[in-house]
């Protein structure tokens, strides 16, 4: 009986969880954390169950209130949704586990209750986006997660977090407004909000200027959300000044959510027929993404602050994924979609490491990391694995997405993109290797105490899990690929 209601439970569970956390926290602040972790664990199980259902029976449609679409709201869980859902929930779970100790120094203790509530609300929004099949519903959930994200970014003790949060809020809201305008335009010409219905109704209207305007608003809005260079201005501050657990969360979950929304709208609403065949604007999109890949990396090289460097690296990686999507053949798409998983694993791990370093030795500047490997061996090992994964060296997952993206670009005959993808490897290597060199190949200054700084298990475990994931999914890449192939076929099949 439960199995047919899985999609809605994926949204309701964290919501109920958020309320429960609030109540529990009201009773006793200490209860928040276990409840939140428990909720997310169940949620993770749920998402796996959804994935299993999807793999077994194909796309799940769930009519809310038993109203058939397009009149009611429909939840649609296809391979892509299930895949993204599992990733996002898993990362949320890990960053929640990670949060326990990491927020200790970064957030006022009395705020922990609201923090965990917010955390779960963010998950609500994210899950809502992944499962919904209604474009307006998507907007609503987008806003839930966004508001949660703005607040969480600003929730720390760090003053700059406030500025970052405000900046993020303005940009994010404009982005959401653009999406809303886009939805309005689509509604004007079709009269429907259901994605499948839209995809069905749009083709005859492809020449309409309104559709074009809608598309522009969507793509610019989504570009802001995904921080596609040069609309990334909010991202570095938000990522680097947020509490560490939140850096992990937004760099993995929120960014992936934006990408998911982009893919959904581009391919499930507008479909390949419009963006590639009718109006080859995706080509331009891919160029922007390519520039983002390079620009993000180059700016990352300039950074001296680890978290900020990682943030710019994210800008680059977003471009990476978008490039895969922009090339829009099945191989490149596979690479892009695969990189959603990979980047979540890698960047999650990296931000966790950055957080752990801040937590333990209070260092942010890369120049101060001299001899860090001796003091924090496991943390640095995790960083190492994640870094080479980001560079795209085997045997780590980064290699796999690079493989597919390059192959896809070659297949599309886009040699420039091939160059970009491969050049990004080098740029990544430059800035990641600098950190590794400082950590491993420089002696610590005399004044820094030579004690092995133990990172709490609740922080170490998630990052090691992610680091292990980086390696494991290299060898077990067929598992996500099985899902991705179906997802990509779905997305491109609409052509």
């Amino acid at each position: 009986m439960i199995s047919e209601h899985l999609p809605i439970l994926a949204v309701i569970l964290p919501l109920v969880g958020a309320l429960t956390v609030l109540l529990a926290g009201w009773a006793e602040r200490r209860y928040c954390y276990p409840v939140a972790v428990a909720v997310l664990t169940i949620q993770f199980g749920l998402s796996l169950a959804i994935l299993r259902e999807v793999l077994r029976g194909g796309t799940i449609h769930y009519y809310l209130g038993d109203w058939a679409p397009p009149w009611g709201i429909e939840l649609v869980v296809d391979h892509l949704s299930a895949y993204v859902l599992v990733i996002l929930v898993f990362l949320s779970l890990l960053s929640c586990i990670y949060a326990k100790r990491s927020i200790g120094g970064e957030i006022d203790p009395q705020k922990t209750v609201a923090f965990y509530v917010m955390f779960l609300l963010l998950v609500v929004g994210v899950c809502g986006i992944t499962v919904t099949g209604d474009i307006f519903n998507l907007y609503v959930f987008l806003e839930i997660s966004s508001i949660a994200a703005y607040t969480l970014v600003a929730s720390g003790r760090e003053k700059k977090g406030l500025l970052a949060g405000f900046n993020y809020l303005i940009m994010g809201t404009i982005s959401a407004c653009f999406i809303l305008i886009g939805i309005g335009h689509l509604y004007v010409v079709t009269g429907t909000l259901n994605m499948a219905d839209l995809a069905r109704l749009l083709p005859p209207l492809y020449d309409s200027t309104i559709i074009h305007v809608a598309f522009i608003f969507f793509i610019v809005g989504l570009s802001i959300k995904t921080a596609l260079f040069p609309l990334h201005t909010w991202l570095p501050d938000a990522y680097s000044h947020a509490p560490s657990a939140i850096s992990v969360l937004i760099s993995t979950v929120i960014s992936k959510m934006g990408i998911y929304a982009t893919i959904r709208i581009l391919f499930s609403v507008f479909t390949v027929g419009f963006i590639v065949d009718h109006l080859p604007i995706l080509e331009f999109f891919a160029w922007v993404a390519a520039i983002a890949v390079i620009a993000g990396s180059v700016i990352a090289i300039a950074q001296t602050d680890l978290k900020r460097m990682l943030a710019y690296s994210s800008v680059s990686q977003m471009g990476y994924i978008m490039l895969g999507i922009g090339i829009a053949n099945s191989v490149a798409m596979t690479g892009g979609v695969l990189h959603i998983l990979n980047h979540a694993l890698i960047k999650g791990c990296l931000f966790m490491v950055a957080g752990a370093i801040i937590y333990r030795v209070g260092l942010r500047k890369i120049d101060d990391f001299k001899g860090l490997a001796g003091r924090m061996p496991y943390t640095c090992a995790a960083f190492f694995i994640a870094a080479i994964s980001m560079i795209g060296l085997p045997p780590t997952v980064g290699f796999m997405s690079k493989w597919y993206l390059t192959l896809g670009a070659i297949e599309a005959g886009e040699w420039f993109f091939v160059v970009v993808i491969l050049a990004s490897t080098l740029l990544n290597a430059i800035y990641f290797w600098r950190v590794l060199e400082y950590a491993y190949f420089r002696h610590a200054d005399a004044e820094t105490p030579e004690l092995e700084s133990r990172v709490p298990v609740s922080m170490l475990l998630p990052m090691l899990v992610l680091a292990a994931g980086c390696v494991v999914f290299f060898f077990a890449v067929s598992i996500p690929l099985g899902i991705i192939d179906a997802a990509v076929a779905d997305l491109l099949g609409g052509a």
Binding site: A164, M171, I216, I219, W234, D237, I281, V298, Q303
Partner: protein, 595 residues
């Protein structure tokens, strides 16, 4: 009888030398060399010994009459050289000597090109060691020049062999058909056989070798080459003329030398010339003459080197101008030297007379008059120079020198060799019996004797007339080696400079690229602004009013000075939204363009 390649005995034997010392070592060395001689003597034509190697069957033992005669003399002189060098204490010297002997024998008995080549190179390497053991101030350079030239020659030989093998599929040592392969082989052999102008290593290196080393060196390298020449190029006319040239060239330069061993070295060139002529002529008499001369030459030239070695060993001097008056002090050496000088000059009754006559006869019998004349001239020159040598070393008055007779092992070696010189001079039949091609040659005919007499007379006349001309001068005579050195240095200098230039330029380019990139990545945003500003400045100057442009320029300059700014600067919402609107416009434009 067990027939094993004699080459292996000294080579393997050499490995044990470092483990022994003192008397035991001496006895051991002698035993090894004698065993080598014995192993050579028991060989009979047709003996084989093959080793599978690289998929070929290496014939380490390919015995016929030609290889036997050369083998005998090689093995014999090996024993002599070892005896001569008994006083040598340096382990490496003995090792090198033994391997040198072994390699020489290896070449002689090699039935295929590959093993021949390997021994050939081994010969070169050990030669360098012997040269370096000379310890003279320029030994190092001489050794280097020696090995460089030989490696070049060896390379050519290898190339020739390879081409031969690639063309015919056969590795067997034999006559070579004309072609690139033959040219390469000839160059390769020519280096070792001291063909002009490839001879330069010889007078360069031999005088600088160790005393005992010189004896060994003067034997194997050139003679092995002659042996190979006999195998591969019998009857090549060009080769014969090359021999003639060598005879004259060697003699002429020998006459001008001051260093005793250098003088001898040029004589090697000259004497080898006779052999080359003989082989080049290619008739039975010619080849036999050449080989016979090889046999004899080893004896007397070895003896000469021994004598001069003894002189150098006891006096420590090696220049004619510094020597003299040793006849009383070193009588045995003196006698041996005179015997050897007589031999090389072709005085009847000494062995040189026999074989030199054969070669000249062979030339004459082929109506190669010019060649014959050259050879005769060479004989005159040889006689002259050895009169000069013996006089200036032993008979000229010089009371400064305190010297005693050479040590016993040296004397034994010298006496034994001198005995052989006379033996084969008096009983040439002994030699004829082992010649590869039986010849019917009668050395002591009137014609030959008269010819020799003529040579002696001419020489005497020249001596009487121009004694002062032959006075040794301290100034050394330049040879082609100077040209080579200059050329080599120039080439090397040029190429290294060129390489350095290029690599420096590449490095500079790389550094500048890295520096530029390094500048850019410090603050990419600001850098882009500066670059764009710089690029657009001319446009602004042209388009905007002067004051405005100037202020813009000032801004740009200020920005440049401030660089790098703060790469971690925060970007406000205003900036972000501006970009957003710009992006909207761009998308509109794109859509407009493609829609």
């Amino acid at each position: 009888m067990i027939e094993i390649p004699p080459a292996l005995i000294p080579i393997v034997g050499a490995l044990l030398v470092p483990l022994l010392s003192g008397k035991v070592r001496k006895a051991y060395l002698l035993a090894v060399s004698v065993a080598t001689l014995a192993a050579t003597l028991v060989l009979t034509p047709g003996s084989t010994f093959t080793v599978p190697f690289l998929g070929y069957d290496l014939a380490l033992l390919h015995v016929d009459s030609l290889s036997l005669i050369v083998g005998y003399i090689f093995a014999f002189i090996g024993v002599i050289a070892i005896v001569y060098g008994m006083r040598e204490e340096r382990t490496g010297h003995h090792i090198a000597a033994l391997i040198q002997i072994g390699s020489g024998l290896g070449i002689v008995f090699a039935g295929d090109f590959l093993s021949l080549y390997i021994f050939w190179e081994a010969l070169a390497v050990t030669s360098v060691a012997l040269i370096w053991y000379g310890g003279r101030e320029d030994s190092r350079g001489a050794g280097m020049r020696y090995i460089l030239l030989h490696i070049f020659g060896g390379g050519c030989l290898l190339g020739g062999i390879a081409l031969q093998v690639a063309a015919t599929g056969s590795m067997a040592v034999g006559e070579v058909a004309p072609g690139i392969s033959s040219i390469l082989l000839l160059i390769g052999i020519g280096v070792n056989a001291a063909f002009i102008p490839l001879h330069v290593w010889l007078p360069d290196a031999y005088p600088r070798s160790s005393v005992a080393g010189g004896v060994i060196l003067c034997v194997f390298t050139t003679k092995a080459a002659i042996y190979l020449l006999a195998r591969t190029f019998p009857g090549a006319e060009a080769v014969a003329y090359m021999g003639g040239l060598m005879v004259i060239y060697g003699v002429s330069l020998a006459l001008l030398q001051n260093d005793v061993r250098k003088l001898l070295s040029y004589h090697i060139v000259s004497q080898v010339g006779y052999m080359v002529v003989g082989i080049g002529i290619g008739t039975a008499l010619g080849v036999s003459g050449g080989i016979a001369h090889l046999f004899n030459h080893i004896l007397y030239k070895g003896l000469l080197f021994m004598c001069m070695g003894a002189v150098i060993y006891t006096t420590g001097r090696h220049n004619l101008t510094e020597l003299g008056g040793l006849a009383r002090r070193m009588p045995v050496t003196m006698i041996a030297c005179v015997i050897a000088a007589a031999s090389i000059s072709g005085i009847p009754g000494f062995n040189g007379y026999i074989s030199k006559g054969m070669v000249i006869d062979a030339a004459a019998s082929m109506q190669m008059t010019g060649l014959g004349l050259l050879l005769t001239l060479g004989a005159v020159g040889t006689l002259l120079s050895f009169v000069k040598l013996t006089y200036y070393v032993f008979f000229k008055k010089n009371n400064e020198i305190e010297a005693r007779e050479a040590p016993l092992p040296m004397l034994i070696a010298m006496v034994a060799t001198a005995f052989c010189c006379i033996l084969f001079g008096v009983y040439p039949g002994l030699l004829f019996a082992i010649l590869p091609i039986p010849v019917d040659y009668h050395p002591f005919t009137a014609g030959h004797l008269i010819e020799t007499g003529g040579i002696v007379v001419v020489a005497a006349v020249i001596l009487l007339l121009g004694w002062n001309l032959f006075k040794p001068k301290e100034k050394s005579v330049p040879d082609l080696m100077e040209v080579y050195r200059l050329g080599g240095r120039g080439l090397l200098g040029f190429s290294t400079t060129a390489v350095n230039r290029v690599s420096d330029a590449l490095a500079a380019a790389r550094r500048s690229v890295i520096a530029r990139l390094g500048w850019f990545v410090q603050d990419p945003v600001m850098a882009t602004t500066i670059l764009a500003g710089t690029a657009l400045l001319p446009v602004a100057r042209a388009a905007l009013p002067r004051a405005r442009a100037a202020s813009l320029e000032e801004d740009l300059m200020r920005t440049r000075d401030e660089y790098p700014g703060n790469p971690a600067r925060m970007w406000g919402t205003g900036y972000g939204l501006l970009l957003v609107t710009l992006f909207l416009i761009i998308y509109f434009a794109v859509l407009f363009l493609i829609g």
